[in-house]
């Protein structure tokens, strides 16, 4: 992916650029809002990572101007400003996702993948398929190898979320936000328990396991481990 990174904190930006480059992405860096906006306007990037607070032109303002100019570039806002209201502001301005510092590189990468994939998807798909697992969002039905699987509403939502991000790593906080709309870190391993229940339901008795744990990052639902 061609990533445009706008971050005024040079050291943090360099670490991130290095990490992303090592993962095989090409990263272009800008250090203030003005030049960031200029670079983004060229339309040559796949994704924009934007710091919330920037010199010259505020991150939110950059997003607003890009959107006003009709850009559909996926934007991930990075910020040291937490709290739900801040997130809402960022997303309202036209950002696609919001990540609070300090973040895990794995979390950032997972969210980038999700954003890139969301762009590729055209509209909400009614039928999701991963290998022999099928999920019908309209009929609210799940089949594995032709056999119906009974799931609770939440389990269904969780599976749908994982299937929409298939072959990507989703982190625990992405799951919390995406499925429950919760913005806190549970002190207990409750997400893992939800995942293992779902795994019981969809993978038990099947040779090919679909739901995998990615150590230190989160989970992924994919046919090739």
């Amino acid at each position: 992916m061609k990533i445009l990174l706008v971050e005024d904190d040079r050291r943090a930006g360099d670490y991130l650029a290095k990490g992303l480059t090592e993962l095989g992405h090409s990263v272009e860096q800008a250090f203030d809002g003005e030049s960031g906006l200029k670079a983004a306007a060229t339309g040559t990037h796949d994704i924009l990572i934007l710091d919330r607070m920037l010199p010259q032109l505020d991150g939110l303002e950059v997003v607003r101007r890009l959107r006003a100019a009709g850009s559909t570039l996926p934007i991930l806002i990075l910020s040291a400003l937490d709290e739900v209201d801040e997130r809402i502001q960022g997303l309202r301005a036209g950002g696609d996702d919001y990540l609070v510092k300090p973040y895990h590189l794995a979390e950032l990468v997972a969210r980038l993948d999700a954003l890139a994939r969301r762009r590729a998807d055209v509209g909400p798909v009614a039928k999701l398929t991963v290998f022999d697992l099928e999920l019908d969002t309209r009929a609210r039905k799940v089949m594995r190898a032709g056999r119906k699987i009974d799931l609770t509403t939440r389990e269904f939502q969780l599976l749908e979320f994982l299937m929409r991000h298939t072959a990507q790593v989703v982190t625990r906080s992405m799951i919390l936000e995406g499925v429950w709309d919760y913005h806190f870190d549970p002190k207990t391993n409750v997400i893992d328990v939800h995942i293992s229940r779902l795994r019981q339901a969809i993978d038990k008795g099947h040779e090919r396991q679909l739901l995998h744990t990615v150590r230190g990052a989160g989970y992924t639902l994919t046919e090739d481990p």
């Binding site: 904190d9 050291r11 943090a12 670490y15 991130l16 290095k18 990490g19 090592e22 607070m53 040291a80 400003l81 937490d82 709290e83 739900v84 209201d85 609070v100 510092k101 300090p102 973040y103 895990h104 590189l105 939440r154 429950w180 919760y182 913005h183 806190f184 870190d185 549970p186 002190k187 207990t188 391993n189 409750v190 328990v193 939800h194 229940r197």
Partner: protein, 460 residues
């Protein structure tokens, strides 16, 4: 409502005092005027009678008795003299002249003055009149009564007393009205101040009291109060700015450390080095979580968090459902009364209940947990009880303080902010937080003021 009724009663008290003071003043002034005037009138008429008596006495000595008798008779019959009475008696007590017949019955007072009532005819009318008279011993056994009708004085007294009555009544009425008006003005100002104070308690520091522009003491008080508000507001906003920028700054630093540690972990050759990097990363994440916890507590305590109508029944049901899989070994008992709404902050309430459930699951392994939500007329009461080790009564206060970790909990993960966040969220919602003994275990009760249909109606 309480403030209102106190204001009411203080108006009544003020109005009553005002009226009473005014009435007493009126009575004092009018009584003084009455007494002085009455004395003046009395002295004046007594002097007139005395002067006439003296001149008649002189006449008696200067003339022979028959002339005197006819002179008295003339005076008594004179239609132009109104209210004067005469009676002349001879040495044997025989009536000689006059327009009244009362003398032998009268006992002469020591100063020579007598007062009596007699029927007097003047023109066509005859009426009982009050008379004040002097009895003179003219010598040679002759006695003369010279007096005058004092009905006017009586009338004056009656008029005066009536006037005093009216004046006092009017003073009472006017005083009551003035007191009520003044009291209402003061009470209105007091109510405005107390309402504003109530708003501020709920976190709208930007509100100001309106000035009447009269420049009086109430206005003075109001502008002092407004200055105080401005000061508090600026202090609070400075505090928030400092807190926000510090948090922002800390997050930036943490992020750089995290990046460096991650980079170091990537190039570390030795396994021990990787483990060290792992530890650094873990601690950074804990620091980040703690920072977030502190900021959430600060948000809840600042009172600036926006509140909205929240379906508490649904919120509790969802968070319990979220934790249910993790609580499988805990024999979870849930009873939730539906459709209880409160004014609240969704995220902070969720976080508070999450903390309570986290704690119950963490500190009471394999022990039953009871979650209950019931509604009373005014409150929605959430209870989370576990059958774990509980918290001794003397340590419960400590548990709600920031970083107040209890002895023996050091082995378990946690920042020591869990219950203090619950306490801060409780304060934000004007809710009562209570910890008690579940025998065995800990029972936490949060009583949040409810939005009832009645409350909604009365708000409209």
């Amino acid at each position: 409502m309480a403030i209102f009724s106190i204001a009411r009663s203080s108006i009544a008290r003020l109005a009553f005092l005002q009226a009473l003071a005014l009435a007493i003043t009126m009575v004092a002034i009018l009584s003084g005027v009455y007494l002085a005037t009455a004395r003046l009138l009395a002295t004046e008429s007594d002097q007139l009678i005395m002067l006439e008596a003296q001149s008649l006495k002189a006449d008696f000595h200067d003339h022979d008795p028959d002339t005197f008798i006819s002179a008295i008779a003339d005076r008594a019959e004179d239609p132009w003299v109104r209210g004067a009475v005469y009676e002349l008696r001879g040495p044997r007590g025989d009536f000689l002249a006059g327009n009244v017949v009362i003398l032998p019955d009268l006992v002469v007072q020591h100063d020579g003055w007598v007062e009596f009532e007699v029927a007097l005819t003047h023109g066509d009318e005859t009426a009982a009149r009050q008379i004040r008279a002097q009895i003179l011993d003219l010598g040679d056994g002759f006695k003369l009564l010279v007096g005058h009708d004092v009905q006017d004085r009586q009338a004056f007294r009656a008029v005066m007393l009536r006037s005093i009555g009216w004046a006092v009544g009017a003073a009472l009425l006017f005083g009551l009205f003035a007191g009520w008006w003044l009291g209402r003005r003061i009470a209105r100002a007091a109510r405005a101040i107390s309402n504003n104070a109530a708003h501020i308690t709920e976190g709208t520091l930007s509100e100001r009291l309106p000035l009447t522009g009269s420049g009086d003491e109430i206005d003075g008080l109001v502008s002092r109060f407004n200055e105080l508000l401005t000061r508090i507001e600026s202090l609070t906003s400075t505090m928030r700015t400092v807190l926000d920028s510090t948090a922002h700054d800390l997050r930036g630093h943490l992020n750089r450390i995290r990046g460096a540690a991650q980079a170091a972990q990537h190039i570390a050759g030795e396994p021990a080095m990787r483990v060290a990097c792992d530890t650094v990363l873990l601690e950074i994440d804990r620091l980040g979580t703690t920072l977030q916890g502190l900021l959430r507590i600060a948000l809840a305590e600042s009172g600036t968090a926006p509140l909205e109508e929240v379906d508490l029944s649904r919120l509790v049901a969802e968070i319990v459902e979220f934790y249910q899989p993790a609580a499988e070994s805990h024999a979870l008992t849930i009873s939730i009364e539906p459709q209880l709404t409160v004014r609240g902050h969704r995220q902070l309430l969720t976080q508070a209940f999450a903390n309570l459930l986290d704690n119950a699951i963490k500190y009471a392994p394999n022990a039953p947990i009871i979650v209950q939500l019931i509604g009373t007329d005014s409150e929605a009461i959430v209870t989370v009880a576990d059958a774990g080790p509980g918290i001794p009564a003397e340590q419960r206060q400590l548990a709600t303080q920031r970083f107040g970790r209890l002895p023996g909990s050091s082995g378990l993960p946690g920042s020591g902010l869990g219950l203090s966040l619950v306490a801060a969220v409780a304060r934000l919602h004007h809710a009562a937080l209570e910890m008690s003994d579940a025998a065995p275990g800990l029972k936490i009760t949060l009583s949040i003021p409810r939005i009832t249909t009645q409350a909604i109606n009365s708000k409209r």
